[in-house]
């Protein structure tokens, strides 16, 4: 009797609400994938098909070649990978300085990093446009790489300095006593221990650049330079929307973000949760 009660209790307080919330989460993703695999004529046909009756990949071909998702994908990849590289180099250096050195102005630098977190990003689109117009970098991936780097560095610096502080300084010193140079000890001792942290930082930076919209929209006015969000948005704003291609384009944009997220989500819960904890 008691166990039966327990089962009912668990059903009501766990499985039922969890199923409802998960369905809410999954449904739009399922519907997008479902739409992406339907031939154009079947998409608006009633009764609606909850699974594609005549599954096809023609929408993906249309999105990739005709609409230009191959280009958008490539542009997003260029911006994402470059930003990740620059951010990792800058924030590892500054994180190392914050974690291992005591120097004048350190506190001010940290307060400066802190302040940046309260700057509304939407506040920056007008001045950024003017700056990059003057530099002649509108519709140039460099403008996005620089801006995203500036936006990401404060958080990743703090993140990296935390990771570096977790690597015992004694290890580094021991390596140097054993005859390693400073650089060698960094490369052979610190770097391997730091690698998981570097990967997590890189993944979060990449997801941010992959998803950012407003700044990319403001700084790009040639279709050949669109990133995925700008491309999707333009498609969504068109007068007669090709829903199959839109769904397929969405799936194309979705896959890398979800794969990277699945890989790094453990770090996310620990890192982000730990970071926000009061």
């Amino acid at each position: 009797m008691l166990t039966a009660n327990k089962k009912v209790d668990k059903l009501l307080t766990l499985y039922l609400p969890l199923t409802m919330l998960l369905s809410f989460t999954i449904f739009p993703i399922y519907w997008t994938i479902n739409t992406a695999f339907k031939p154009e004529g079947d998409i608006i046909k009633r009764p609606l098909q909850y699974l594609p009756v005549n599954p096809t990949t023609e929408n993906f071909v249309t999105a990739w070649t005709n609409v230009g998702f191959a280009t958008f994908f490539k542009n997003s990849l260029i911006v994402g990978v470059s930003t990740v590289l620059v951010v990792l180099i800058c924030s590892t250096l500054s994180g190392y300085a914050l974690s291992r050195y005591q120097f004048k102005g350190k506190r001010s630098f940290m307060i400066m990093l802190l302040c940046t977190q309260f700057i509304p990003r939407a506040m920056m689109i007008i001045p950024l446009f003017v700056i990059f117009k003057n530099l002649g970098l509108i519709s140039n991936p460099l403008s996005l790489i620089i801006t995203y780097t500036a936006i990401e560095i404060p958080f990743t610096t703090i993140l990296m300095s935390g990771f570096i502080s977790n690597v015992p300084k004694e290890l580094e010193e021991a390596a140097m006593i054993d005859g390693c140079s400073k650089l060698q000890s960094l490369r052979h001792v610190v770097f391997p221990l730091l690698l998981p942290g570097i990967v997590a930082t890189g993944v979060f930076t990449f997801i941010y650049t992959w998803n950012e919209f407003l700044i990319a929209l403001m700084l790009t006015n040639q279709q050949s330079k669109f990133t995925l969000p700008v491309g999707l948005s333009t498609m969504l704003g068109e007068f007669s929307i090709n829903y199959g291609a839109l769904a397929a384009g969405s799936v194309i944009a979705l896959i890398p973000a979800v794969i990277l997220f699945a890989y790094a989500q453990k770090h996310l819960v620990n890192g982000m949760g730990g970071a926000v904890k009061g």
Partner: protein, 313 residues
Amino acid sequence: MSLSQGVTETVINSEKTVKRKNIKKDRWVPYLFILPSFLIILGFLFYPIATVFYYSVQHYDVSAPYYNGFAGLENFKEIFTNDKMFIPSLINSLKWVVTEVGLQLVFGMILALLLNQTFKFRGLVRAVAFIPWAISGVLASTMWSLMFNEHMGVLNDLLMKLGIIDEPQAFLASTSTAFTSVIIAELWRGIPFFAITLLASLSSIPNELYEAAKVDGASRWKSFIYVTLPQLKNTIVLTTLLRVVWEFNNVDLLFNLTGGGPAHSTTTLTMYIADLAVHGSNFGYGSALTVVSFGILLVFAILYLKLSRYEKE
């Protein structure tokens, strides 16, 4: 707070490891290390923000350059006395932020409480539940537009099957449903943020507290109110503040699902600014609006932290 905590930790750590020797020799090393980050932040975060303040007191219209020049407070005067969009968009911002953050907090809390229990495949379920966090605003917009659509939208189909509506609705095109529709789509994307942060705090509450409450005969609801909530207070205060700022500034879904319409019914203050910036040319006026919205956020943040007695018992 992410940074403040990191800052204190790092300060403590580095004080522990004050250099024994070589202090003189590599005094310049840390400066060299932070130099790239410092320059990028200065040039592409602080400088743009400074120019917003500068432009806000200028006439600066790229389509009417002959008129450009110092404007004093004219832009601001225009906002508060003549702009018919300002007050309605401010009200929409208030509606947007309060409903979004409120609902995200409630559902995020429920999700976190559920995911904190032990059950099979918990790791996988957590990963799936958090997926919307990694999905962009634009992508969420395309996905939900496929759901809301009048002709092929599954939502109409489901609601008609349930007998709630008789004929397909254009949810995003009607003033009575557009705002709610965008709210739902943004809620979908926002729940994981609260679930993730609250889950991390939940798992750090010592089990003894719950056991003690149980001994005292507290019901599950009571132990939530008297044990869980007080333990989560600082996390809740901080995450809601961050989220208010974030949602106030977030226009991705509004921009892509409704474009602020129909009849400006979904135009928030930030949406109004974004629209001026992207489609308009009067950068001086847009900058003045930006400064006003920045001021509003700043006042809110200070009041909120004061009133919530953050980090005080």
